[in-house]
Amino acid sequence: MTALTLTRPIPSGTQQWWVLTARLIAPTLRNGEVAVGVAVSVAATASLYIPLNRLMDGPDLQMSSYAQYLVPLIVLQAIAFASISTAFRAATDSVQGINRRFQSLPIASLTPLAARITAALYRCVIGLVVALAAGYVIGFRFHRGLWYAAVFCLLTLLIGLALALLGDTLGTKSRDPAATAQWLLLPQLIFGFLSVGIQPLHRFPEWIRPVVDNQPISRLVYALQALAGDSAGGVPPVTWSVIGPALAWTVGIMAVTLPWAVVVYRRRT
């Protein structure tokens, strides 16, 4: 009888992470999550490009086409949507009590978080691939070769990681899917529209230019536009002065979120 109490399992952290990740990813094809992710990316492309192409295109873009100018913003919108889904999922998990259940089991306290972040990256990859495919259709091309295209994707996924961490922490903390759901829509549009991804800086009213120029989306758009390149040559070369601020914003978001996430996630609910 003592054998029963002695054979306490020593679960491997990696295996637990994989099981919890599979729990989130496996049902996505069936429950429509992948379909919705694809639809959101396509909708983001269509809803920005089709109405704005004739309105925004002009010689002062200094780009070969508005598609080439716009796609970095579309990619970022797709990534943002993926992260807000993560927040919504985290809030649902939190309110349904499965987090509390995990805390009562021999699972390291950050393993469920790691699993949800992995699932978030999976959503980001779907969003990125679909947005790039849709961008290809409207005329977006990588002009600087394979390596820069790879860096373009890596930078995008890094932002996705930062936003997923932020979204997950917000969702877990709020424990309120209804309130989180509302964040799906308007904030992204506001941040996206007030960035240089939609039109060049000089077309904004003068008083708001410093804000537009320095906000994170704009900085990321500058970096992504440079990495994608252009046939017309109006894009700045890839230098640290272009990539640096984008990286700094991304790392900054993570640096602020990570300690907060640990506090939120360790708290007994």
């Binding site: 429950n31 429509g32 999550e33 919705v36 639809a39 959101v40 396509v42 909708a43 983001a44 269509a46 809803s47 920005l48 089709i50 109405p51 704005l52 192409n53 004739r54 309105l55 925004m56 949507f81 889904s85 919504f88 999922r89 649902t92 309120d176 899917p177 209804a178 309130a179 759901a181 509302q182 799906l184 829509l185 308007l186 904030p187 549009l189 506001i190 529209f193 007030l194 939609i198 039109q199 077309r203 904004f204 009213p205 708001i208």
Partner: protein
């Protein structure tokens, strides 16, 4: 025993006084109570205020800053006469998602089933949601309108037109809420909230309130011109700055009535199902 026997007698007497469960009187009074409950819940959660007030206002300002000058230059009239209606409509739609999540939450924590088992008029549950939604729609529309007025939006067609202007987003919002609630009752997975987002975004961006119709590619112009949000924006533009009203107004009402009629039966059946089974 005597006490227990007394209970149904008192209950019956009270029921006599208040009217039976199916009477119009109890429908009205119970709807009022339940509407109050829903409104109180929204008022007490600070996020509702953010969503009903802050986000639409911020979005209206964004549209003004980003596209205002370009649109005004093209059309020759203040872009606000398009963007204020657009944001009013958008705010009504984006707020409906809270209701979608709410009705599903109440379904799963058993509140709907509990209400079904009480002597409450069968129509009170859904009518109270309609009532609370209408209050929210009027409030949000007035907030957007107030912001527009502060930016320079004016009514040039008199008081009657202004009242009609406010009524359009409310009518449209009720029709959209019917769609959203029906979807929520049948598709209970959390993805459905996300699934509504592309619909809202495409509706708002393929709309005459976003960009004038002749700026769209030719093949998509008919869609832009005749989709309900464009027609509603056109009617509201006519009611404020002037222009054709009757035709877009009638088309908008037909759209809304049709949407509401299509959703009505599935909505009633779905609500009954949600109340009687988990």
């Amino acid at each position: 025993m005597a006490v227990l026997e007394g209970v149904p007698v008192v209950g019956a007497a009270e029921a006599e006084l208040a009217g039976s469960e199916n009477s119009l009187r109890s429908l009205l009074s119970q709807t009022a109570v339940l509407t109050g409950r829903l409104l109180l819940r929204s008022v007490r959660s600070p996020m509702t205020l953010v969503h009903a007030v802050l986000l639409p206002v911020a979005f209206l300002l964004t549209l003004k800053v980003v596209f205002g000058d370009s649109i005004t230059a093209i059309t020759g009239e203040n872009a606000l006469y398009r963007s204020v209606p657009l944001v009013a409509l958008l705010a009504t739609m984006s707020g409906s998602t809270t209701g979608m999540v709410g009705i599903n939450a109440e379904r799963f924590d058993g509140f709907l089933a509990r209400m079904w088992s009480l002597p409450i008029h069968r129509g009170a549950g859904l009518l109270s949601r309609l009532g609370a939604e209408t209050v929210r729609l009027v409030f949000t529309t007035l907030v957007v309108l107030g912001t527009g007025m502060a930016l320079g939006f004016r009514f040039h067609q008199g008081v009657g037109a202004a009242v009609l202007w406010v009524a359009i987003p409310v009518i449209f919002g009720v029709a959209f809420a019917a769609v959203a609630t029906t979807v929520a009752l049948y598709w209970r997975k959390t993805v459905m909230v996300e699934a509504m987002q592309p619909v809202i975004i495409l509706g708002a961006t393929f709309c005459t309130g976003f960009v004038p119709v002749d700026r769209y590619p030719d093949w998509v112009q008919p869609v832009v011109r005749y989709q309900p949000m464009s027609l509603a924006v056109d009617a509201m533009r006519g009611l404020s700055v002037g222009g054709p009203v009757l035709s877009p107004m009638i088309s908008t009402l037909i759209w809304c009535a049709a949407i509401f009629a299509v959703c009505l039966v599935p909505l009633l059946v779905g609500y009954r199902r949600a109340s009687t089974s988990r």
